[in-house]
């Protein structure tokens, strides 16, 4: 158990000592300095305090044999027999990591009637695909799916397990990583393999205002989830060079206390995550009717309309069309923001877009720090003019 030990001395300046701690965990009780449970073990008091006054007492951790754990395993999620794009993106990234670190790349698929997916995955350079195919696995239920992934991990002993940050992935990953008493890092935006096969993981926290670089040094496997559109979808390579293995599960592993009564598709609204071009309405839009011009511009560009949190809160834009940390993450080829200031919560949901064009009156708006083309102007003037110009060009042929 690590903790900060105080070596009391008579001469100290309490103001100075308490100022060392960003968490206000240093207090004075009856002339003695104490550390409260607000302490986050940041060690700043050890580093910056009077020499020897604060000490970090750390017990040695029993290291596991990392050499026993080798290879990268991707949990490939399928929906109605098709591989989700996020899983392919992760396979693509994992292939690069595997080649660089000279490790095997494996994939695991769980479901019913999923045999064709094995061959399909081999085309992406997967060395080994484990298939768990059974009528009892038709729909996702946590116990049998966790048992399948657990079996795959015990069989392969991978160093890294990557899972899509989908509702199912976010249900499965914490469950199975807890079963192995190992670390899990959610929603990684950067992954690299370092020394001893340690996975460098970077993820946003505090709604994207802070980035955290995370290690799982003494535990294996290292679990990480990755959201849709963080990595690029790979192209299938010509020559498959791997094997597909059908694994069976014991009847008791297929048991569940959950019964799926119904799965119905959501009313088919196009998802903003899938759009190649997005036009985003921001706070500068003053009334609901003014959204009409945003929709017109979007229609002319074959784009979908999305909104910032303020427009979702007014109810003018559907919450499924909200970009940002409390909404969706998008990565379109082109995104045009209209009167969006670009708060970090919004930016974190779209700053991976290939091309960002921002229209905003305020030259100092933070959106201009991430916009590839920043247009300093009024959306109420520029958007209607754009609509007229595009129509005029198109109309030249039509009329």
């Amino acid at each position: 158990m690590a903790e900060i030990i105080v070596h009391q001395s008579e001469n100290y300046d309490f103001q100075q000592l308490s100022g060392l701690c960003p968490f206000n965990a240093i207090i004075e009780v009856d002339g003695l300095i104490q550390i409260t449970d607000a302490c986050r073990l940041c060690k700043l008091c050890v580093k910056n305090g009077p020499p020897g006054f604060f000490e970090l007492a750390e017990n040695a951790v029993g290291n596991i044999d990392k050499k026993q754990w080798d290879g990268i395993l991707v949990y490939v999620e399928q929906e109605f027999g098709s591989i989700l794009p996020v899983s392919l993106e992760i396979v693509g990234k994992a292939k690069v990591l595997a080649e660089k670190s000279k490790q095997q790349l494996s994939a695991i698929v769980i479901g019913d009637e999923i045999s064709p997916l094995g061959e399909q995955l081999l085309k992406y350079g997967v060395n080994q695909v484990l298939l768990y195919e059974n009528a009892a696995l038709k729909e996702f239920r946590i116990e049998p799916y966790a048992a399948g992934l657990e079996d795959g991990i015990r069989y392969l002993m991978p160093s890294v397990v990557l899972i899509g940050g989908t509702p199912i992935g976010r249900s499965l990953a914490p469950r199975v990583s807890a079963r192995f008493r190992t670390g899990l890092t959610a929603d990684c935006t950067f992954l690299e393999i370092g020394e001893e096969g340690n996975l460098d993981q970077i993820r946003p926290a505090f709604g994207g205002n802070i980035m955290a670089h995370i290690h799982t040094l003494n535990h294996r496997p290292q679990f990480a989830t990755v959201r849709h559109k963080i990595f690029d979808e790979p192209l299938p390579s010509e020559e498959p060079n791997g094997v597909v293995l059908h694994r069976t599960m014991l009847p008791e592993q297929l048991l569940s206390r959950i019964k799926i009564l119904e799965i119905r598709n959501k009313v088919a609204t196009p998802m903003i995550e899938d759009a190649e071009v997005l036009v985003v309405a921001g706070r500068a839009i003053r009334k609901k009717e003014d959204l009409k011009m945003i929709h017109q511009l979007a229609d002319l560009l074959g784009a979908q309309v999305a909104g910032t949190r303020s427009l979702i809160e007014t109810g003018w834009v559907d919450s499924k069309r909200q970009i940002g940390l409390s909404g969706r993450t998008v990565k379109p080829k082109l995104i045009i923001t209209c009167g969006v200031s670009g708060a970090i919560q919004f930016a974190a949901g779209m700053n991976q877009s290939e091309c960002i064009i921002a229209i905003n009156k305020d030259e100092k708006a933070p959106i201009f720090q991430i916009a590839h083309y920043g247009i300093v102007g009024d959306v109420y003037e520029i958007v209607p003019k754009m609509i007229r110009k595009i129509r005029k060009e198109a109309g030249g042929d039509a009329v």
Binding site: M1, A2, E3, P22, F23, T36, D37, C39, R40, L44, N48, N59, E79, I142, P167, I168, S171, A173, P174, R175, S177, A178, R179, R181, T182, G183, L184, A186, D187, A205, F206, G207, N209, I210, M211, A212, H213, I214, T216, L217, R257, I258, K259, I260, L261, I263, K266, G302, S319, Q369, Y373, I375, V376, G377, D378, E381, I382, M386, I390, E393
Partner: protein
């Protein structure tokens, strides 16, 4: 019926900054509040109690100040509250946090139903709920939008899937995490605050747990280690256009044509 709701105290805002010199979060003046997603879990729990009877407990882990969110939960209709607090819990990651909460739940007794918010606003991971269910060896369903039916031995819930909505029957004991749009959380009641101000919040530390091995808690029990934190970098490779709206719209038209979007 017994229900436990897990709640967390989070910073009052996400607008946190990093101190350039020390490299740690600046927390002064940020304040603290209940994780907003937990309000929906509390509301769901209180509504179940109102129709089915029974008791609802709130459970949190954190420093003593975290009692504030438990008081708020009580003002919303929770009957009793437990705070897991111990200096040795600090520095907990997802695994250690969920393990500690699971130990706390065992201490108060595994209920029929465990409720969590969908995620927290500081960690954003949505992982603690499922990991608690693993440690208690009970089934879980995440992203529950609505509870459609409750029986003695289980319930029927509607859950949000990626491109679909599912309806599932799940047997007690179980854990579910609650989506934010299903119910409207009630405001804390001042009258209830007055009525409940004598309710004592129980506090438990490692010595109260079934597992008292310190290596399973806090920083030591956390497999993941934060190497460093930093502010996200801004992409500085940009150009800015100035001019009349006529000029600007023409430039934009040309750019879109050049990029083959028109």
């Amino acid at each position: 019926m017994r229900i436990i709701v897990c709640v967390k105290q989070v910073p009052g805002t996400n607008q946190v900054e990093i101190d350039d010199v020390t490299g740690v979060l600046k927390r002064e003046g940020v304040g603290a509040k209940m994780n907003p997603y937990d309000l929906y879990a509390i509301e769901t729990a209180v509504r179940i109690k109102e129709t089915q009877g029974g008791t609802v407990s709130a459970l949190s882990m954190g420093p003593m100040q975290a009692e504030a969110v438990l008081r708020e939960a009580i003002m919303m209709g929770i009957d009793e509250a437990v705070l897991l607090t111990d200096r040795k819990f600090s520095g907990s990651d997802v695994l250690a946090t969920s393990y500690t909460l699971a130990q706390g739940i065992k201490k108060i007794g595994v209920p029929d139903l465990l409720l969590c918010g969908k995620m927290t606003t500081d960690g954003d991971t949505a992982q603690v709920g499922p990991a608690i269910a693993e440690f208690l060896n009970i089934p879980h369903i995440t992203n529950v939008k609505a509870i459609l039916e409750i029986r003695e031995d289980g319930m029927v819930v509607e859950m949000d899937l990626l491109h679909a909505v599912g309806v599932a029957d799940i047997l007690f004991p179980c854990l579910i995490t609650i989506e934010k749009d299903g119910v409207q959380p009630r405001l804390p009641s001042y009258r209830r605050k007055l009525a409940m101000q004598d309710v004592k919040i129980s506090r438990y530390g490692i010595s109260d747990m079934e597992d008292q091995n310190e290596n399973h808690y806090g920083l030591e029990g956390s497999p993941t280690k934060v190497v460093r934190i930093f502010s996200p970098a801004a992409n500085t490779d940009y150009e800015k256009w100035h001019g009349s709206s006529e000029e600007l719209s023409t430039m934009l038209l040309q750019k879109l044509k050049q990029m083959k979007h028109l």
